[in-house]
């Protein structure tokens, strides 16, 4: 092609490696359940594998790693306010649990 490169063009190898990596990570997260891991170990492993998978999908498959910083900021920063929602709802859930316990488990 003589014209400038159009859109996001990267070597196939990157995709194949990430693909393999996603398979391995999914297998790991399945094994967490298969081996009946419990407590903090289970939850931290689930979260770590989940974030790694999500990161690779967004960065490589969705090409976010190669986009300009303006687009990265516009798309990746707004979801952070969801953390506040999650925090509030966790507190609220705990509170509901306690009041239900106090009201119904006498």
């Amino acid at each position: 092609m003589s014209e400038a490169k159009e859109g996001q063009q990267h070597p196939l190898k990157i995709y194949l490696w990430i693909w393999l990596l996603l398979f391995v990570l999914s297998t790991f997260s399945y094994l967490v359940d298969y081996f009946h891991l419990h407590g903090m170990l289970r939850w931290s492993l689930i979260i770590v594998f989940m974030l790694l998978k999500a990161g690779f999908i967004v960065a490589i498959f969705m090409h976010m790693a190669w986009e300009r910083l303006a687009l990265k900021f516009a798309i990746l920063i707004p979801p952070l306010c969801l953390l506040i929602l999650i925090g509030f709802m966790a507190i609220e859930g705990d509170y509901t649990f306690l009041t239900r316990g106090a009201a119904f488990l006498r």
Partner: protein, 224 residues
């Protein structure tokens, strides 16, 4: 995109400031791509609302939450294998994400045959995923799971399950139709006439997002 090259050498934050302060266009991507990203951002909020409300009801219920590992186990060869159907569905969806990534790549290389082939494969894997989900729903409904109750514990389990996986399945089904529509246009040479294969990448963005959401559902609903 001369602007891109000129501003590429700026320090990162200054480049962001220049982009956002530009008169005509803040994002140096085709409009379809910027719009798809913004749609996906809004979809992120919807799915997070579902998952957060699921977290809330699971935290606040006094009854025990049904153990997903057992609920979603399948009896294969006389042995109960925990969560096996969900694991297979996960692998099917990841495979489809891989074929989609390759389809986008071949599109930009102007390899029409491979692009169409890979997109149809992606759609077929998506349809497989939805069929397995339909099987799972049927199995659970026959076992007595309803949005208002189930035989194993907290009644909220059913409503969270049907809402979250249902909405995700709807996204997959819509994606299958979307991919087939774009694949048909690749086949007929529509994008050659237009001179741009960006649409394939934009469709890819949607498909990878569907996979991305499944990563979170798999972790929080099925594994937790």
């Amino acid at each position: 995109m001369a602007h891109d090259a000129e501003t590429a050498i700026l320090p990162p934050l200054q480049q962001v400031a220049t982009d956002f302060a530009s008169d005509k266009q803040a994002f140096s991507v085709p409009w379809g791509k910027a719009m798809m990203w913004i749609f996906l951002l809004s979809d992120t909020f919807i799915f997070t609302c579902f998952l957060t409300s699921y977290m809330n009801v699971r935290l606040s219920t006094l009854s025990t939450w049904p153990n997903p590992s057992q609920v979603f186990s399948l009896n294969i060869g006389g042995q109960d294998i925990p969560l096996i159907l969900i694991a297979i569905m996960t692998f099917v969806l990841i495979t489809s994400s891989g074929t989609m990534a390759l389809a986008v790549n071949y599109g930009y290389r102007r390899n029409k045959r491979n692009t169409v082939l890979l997109m149809v494969t992606t759609a077929a894997l998506g349809a497989t995923f939805v069929s397995m989900q339909a099987f799972e729903w049927t199995k659970l409904i026959m076992e007595g799971v309803r949005p208002w109750g189930n035989p194993w514990g907290a009644p909220q389990f059913g409503s969270a399950f049907f809402m979250i996986t249902g909405f995700h399945g709807l996204h997959v089904s819509a994606g299958v139709i979307y991919l087939l529509t774009v694949a048909r246009r690749v086949h007929t040479g529509f994008y050659d006439k237009r001179g741009s294969y960006e649409t394939v990448e934009v469709a890819g963005l949607y498909w990878h997002f569907v996979d991305l959401v499944w990563v979170f559902i798999f972790a929080f609903f099925y594994l937790w």
